[in-house]
Symmetry: C2
Subunit: 202 residues, 2 copies
DNA sequence: TACTTTCTGTACCAATAAGTACATAAATAT
DNA sequence: ATATTTATGTACTTATTGGTACAGAAAGTA
């Protein structure tokens, strides 16, 4: 181990605590006292370990998106686009059932902000775009495999699913019981184009 | 006219200016200097005329939702649920084509916030619920009229359309070109249940 | 004209924001 | 044991936040 007094807290655990605060209050709404008290460390320790508030946020954001990408990547391995989307949206429901901050960091951390946080806002927008791109890739594959009917726009479908996901983040953030979203998830899944032969009657 | 020096600015015009700022930067992100400079009035004038920042916001919010309700109410007069939804979502696109702050005040003004703004956040949530309720009412009527197939859940459908609307707010706020949303609006409209006899082939 | 009422602008206040200086504590390296 | 390196906690600084006191200006009323 390198010389010097060892850090008394676990860096990743601290980041996870910070992530919760950012998710709950947003980037700007999370004050330094909010963060330090949740992380259980003093202000100078935070600065020593993470640089500053924005760098801390970026690290939390990176961690969040790493888990997110991994989870989505797994889900998109489902055999059909339809099954993948269903699991994707049901996961959103599940992830918001456990106690803790509700919603999606990529959506709500800085949807709007003061001038100082414009950079953060843009970063979030690009993170969302990345996820939308994953969806699109999956749908293009489905199209190539004949899983989705020819003529379907992978881009439009990806946009729809992403849009529904963002909307779900707003809904759960607003306090809706996650399970209440089940029905609308089913309708969304049903909206995915399929070949006439696959359609089941109501 | 009542005695005393007359106000040198138009109250409603000032509120509209404030509304733009709140839409762009959110309730907390909009600083007093941001507001006063946009409104073209001094800080004490703002306080004299509107009370304080939160009251000003509430007035802006009320104005926004008044226009919103009116517009949605009109759109929902369309003969079918499907036509109503289509126009509703196309209006979202149109409203974000003109320059100015993008998105929806009810969604982004305080999706997350510091402790002081919890009240505002809740108010926004209830404003959204009110709009969702309008949708639901319309769908229940459609159900009663046989416009929507029996067995359709008006609540779930209202939830879906509202969720898509919120998601669209996130999308346009993130900088997407409004027209890019056209395709996904079409898919959303196509997702509205209809009788088998009405379905047109792809 | 004098008086009252209300608005406007400068200049301020207390509270809080993010960020840091510095002395001290705790570890490793020699 | 001593020196070195790094972490910690108290206490501070500067900038900005929302909010206000107060003097002066502009109107109506008598």
């Amino acid at each position: 181990m390198s010389a010097g007094r060892p850090r008394e807290f676990d860096t990743n655990a601290a980041i996870d605590k910070a992530l919760e605060v950012f998710k709950q209050k947003g980037y700007e709404g999370a004050s330094l006292p909010d963060l330090t008290s949740a992380m259980g460390i003093s202000r100078p320790s935070l600065y020593a370990a993470f640089g500053n508030k924005e760098e801390l946020f970026q690290k939390a954001l990176e961690r969040y998106n790493q888990k997110m990408s991994e989870s989505i990547g797994e889900v998109l391995n489902a055999p059909t686009a339809r099954a993948a989307v269903e699991q994707l949206l049901l996961n959103v429901i599940d992830n918001n059932k456990c106690k803790g901050a509700k919603g999606c960091l990529n959506v709500q951390a800085a949807l709007v902000c003061g001038d100082n946080a414009e950079g953060v806002k843009q970063e979030l927008s690009s993170r969302r775009a990345r996820i939308e791109w994953m969806l699109r890739q999956r749908f293009e594959r489905a199209l190539a495999e004949g899983d989705l009917p020819a003529g379907t726009s992978a881009a439009d479908l990806a946009c729809l699913i992403a849009t529904v996901m963002y909307g779900m983040a707003v809904q759960v953030n607003g306090g809706i019981a996650p399970d209440t979203l089940r029905g609308m998830v089913n309708m969304t899944v049903a909206a995915i184009p399929q070949h006439a032969s696959q359609k089941k009657s109501a």
